[in-house]
Amino acid sequence: MLDKLKIPERHYMNDGHSLRSWLLTKDHKRIAIMYLMSISVMFFIGGLFAVGIRFELATPQGDFVTADTYNKFFTMHGVIMVFFFLIPSIPAVLGNFLIPPMIGAKDLAFPRINLLSLYIYWLGGFFTLYAMIVGGVDTGWTFYTPYSAASSNTSVVPTALGIFIAGFSSILTGLNFIVTIHRMRAPGMTWFRLPLFVWAHYATSLVQVLGTPVIAITIVMLGVERALGFGIFDPARGGDPVLFQHLFWFYSHPAVYIMILPALGVTSELVSTFSRKIIFGYSFVAFSSLAIAIFGFIVWAHHMFVAGISTYAAMVFSFLSFSVAIPSAVKVFNWTATLYKGATSWDTPMLYAYGFIGLFAIGGLTGLFLATLGLDVHMHDTYFVVAHFHYIMVGGAIMGYLGGLHFWWPKMTGRMYSEFFSKVSAIMVFVGFNITFFPQFVVGYLGMPRRYHSYPDEMQVLNVMSSAGATVLGLGYVLPVIYFLYSLRFGRVAGPNPWGASGLEWQMQSPPLTENFVEVPVVTSEPYEYEHLVAKEKHLV
């Protein structure tokens, strides 16, 4: 039945071929594809800096590049990866493409604002890349004053301007999603029939809208202090550098939840689809996304336990930081329970989901170490912290992103990618990732500080292991680019529902029409209803 499938002659990609039809499009799917291309470029650039860092750290003396260049490497790696890849990755690509069809809408609530968000992202990217070319910035992605305001003589203000602008792209995407999910659900699509992917993006959008402005004002204050000589954070005039850290982390901790929540949503979809079964404890998983988003706002000072905040404040924030661990644990346990008595399969997206659950669990659990006051004094700003957030960002967010990409690629392009190579790349990514970042836990507890280009000799073996793993990980990321592009031309035709999934988006043709559905769907069944899907297939066959 599969072989007579062919690509439908009318779909959103051949609905106008001119550059104008792409650059001035209002179709959320085309905007998602343009975002996919932009953030892939940014991921490649950020990855280059990571390679530079790992080469430098292969030797204790740090003689691959000078100290200044190394400082610029890790700063640009941080800035580009955080603000230009991780924050937009799943919401702007998969979220943009899939939320309207998943809730049965023709498009997002504000299509023009969606396009504006893409242009703003490009403008922000332009300023940051301009700053990178002109000389880069060496303050670390955290821009702590007074170094960033007074001592650094690198192009801090252009980079800060780039991040300030990119922040608005994130705000507009979040705003668009919230209004769409509230006001444009198809008839019958109640809140508890929404796919968990949509719940996760609703929570992410709340954080994007409520958190991003605070880093915008923090950057304005930094820019004003550096460019005009104002004295808000200047210790010589009585200012308090710790205040900058408070304002910075008020956004930047919820920002890590912007990065991970969409990946949690993707994994809930994958686990449910590939065990052919409704997720275990749907409402608990849905509300745990909201809980993570809201608790994410009250824990920020666990980044500052040794930064000079008072003992009392440290205790309060440490206590609250444990509250965020509970919803994450609930999610992991619910995924595990979903697999029980399911009908699982080892397709590539599911491989990424397995990898995600394992690595996200380790990432989350190592967060407990850092939330514990007694340990954070020893571990703060060492490689233990670097390993922790890479387990969440790379092991979690990027594995989730790749899993989602592999799952919805047939829907986005109508083509299947090569099964064999995608499994090889999934395993390479998993293995390469663990070799790269697990030794960093050990070298971190040994006391190797962050952002050092040279380290004591006895820590060399662990660092060389990490650098070796980084090359395997790097190769693992290059493979998907190859077989995805290859599949565009030569991939097997996928048909509307290659995985037999249950979401509304799988009832559209793939690649979908510009207006998604021929006529507005009415939702009657519960989410993840596989029973009637099988019945429909039997009826068809």
């Binding site: 702590y144 000079g308 008595k341 009908a343 399969s345 500080p449 099988v534």
Partner: protein, 334 residues
């Protein structure tokens, strides 16, 4: 502790290092347990419930409230235990005992300056007695730094304009690492040193005995390195700058043909305003250190250069010039 010669666990050299490590092992055990439970069960379910043929679907299990409560309440309880234990260790870390020995530390871009009450001043070196609580009051002269002793499991940021403090009681004598863990610029990775724990008697000897922080010349040597003078003034003379070996007392011919005897005044002048008298055959590359070096560092540097020419007749030091900038200047910001 080492495996195949690779150190995988830091040595415990302070009283509360053991408490911190006990807490570390507890959380490590709990995390390993949960990680294993999750990993094993997802893989087991993945294999055990693999679909036998194409059309299979899973059992319709919506969820179960008791199970959800179990894995919400239990992690909460464990989390509270971790919090309580961590908070008590932290409270102990943050309250130095009263009769602790007081040391002052000042972080300055890319060196740590310690001052003992008895007057000793050390740069990137710290000598502490074993078996006695030591309280270090920390501040910074320019940007954020952070004083970190991995072996003592303690760390505290140095904030300009404010005092913060950390304390430890060293137990086993030896030399341990000291790092700066708050990013502070170009040579953040070079702002390291070592803390030497001495037996109380040896510490007393060190206090009275050896010159305060090694002779002035030794301190000059460290500065000669940390200010990267050695990257141009190579002994072989093939660097950007002239070789300084046996230079004191020699007469050098300058760019404009005139000659000058290399003495203290000339050395001081070529450090503070290095473009003034360039030796023939060298380009004016040397940066001026006016405002970058304090008076005592300048004297130490000159002592070091003089120590590189042992057999030179020690020319009488020229009258110290009028207004050398006494305090260590702020790094010049472009």
């Amino acid at each position: 502790m080492q495996i195949f010669g690779i150190p995988i666990f830091p040595d415990q050299a302070s009283t509360f290092a053991k408490d911190v490590d006990a807490l570390y092992f507890f959380i490590f055990a709990v995390s390993a347990f949960f990680a294993l439970v999750v990993a094993v069960s997802i893989l087991y379910f993945g294999v055990r419930y693999h679909k036998t043929h194409e059309g299979d679907i899973g059992a319709r299990i919506e969820g179960s409230l008791p199970l959800e409560l179990v894995w919400s309440v239990i992690p909460t309880v464990i989390a509270m235990v971790m919090f309580g234990w961590g908070a008590s260790v932290f409270y102990h870390l943050r309250r130095p005992p009263d009769q602790a020995m007081q040391i002052y530390a000042v972080g300055k871009q890319w060196m740590w300056k310690f001052q003992h009450l008895e007057g000793q001043r050390e740069i990137n070196q710290l000598h502490v007695p074993a078996g006695r609580p030591v309280k270090i009051t920390i501040s910074s002269e320019d940007v954020l730094h952070s004083l970190y002793f991995p072996a003592f499991r303690t760390k505290m940021d140095a904030i300009p304009g404010r005092y913060t403090e950390l304390w430890f009681e060293a137990t086993t004598p030896g030399t341990y690492h000291m790092f700066c863990t708050e990013y502070c610029g170009t040579n953040h990775a070079g702002m390291i040193g070592s803390v030497t724990v001495l037996e109380p008697s040896a510490f007393q000897a060190w206090l009275q005995g050896g010159s305060q922080e090694g002779s002035l010349a030794q301190r000059g040597a460290r500065l000669f390195e940390s200010l990267a003078c050695n990257s141009c003034h190579l002994d072989t003379g093939r660097g950007h700058g002239p070789s300084l070996k046996d230079i004191v007392g020699k007469t050098e011919t300058l760019e404009d043909g005139s000659t000058v005897v290399v003495d203290d005044a000339y050395l001081r002048e070529s450090i503070l305003s290095s473009q003034a008298k360039i030796v023939r055959g060298f380009k004016p590359l040397m940066p001026t250190f006016q405002g970058l070096i304090s008076e005592e560092n300048l004297v130490a540097l000159i002592e070091h250069v003089k120590s590189m020419s042992p057999n030179a007749t020690t020319a009488a030091p020229a009258a110290s010039p009028a207004s050398a900038d006494p305090a260590a200047g702020k790094p010049e910001k472009k």
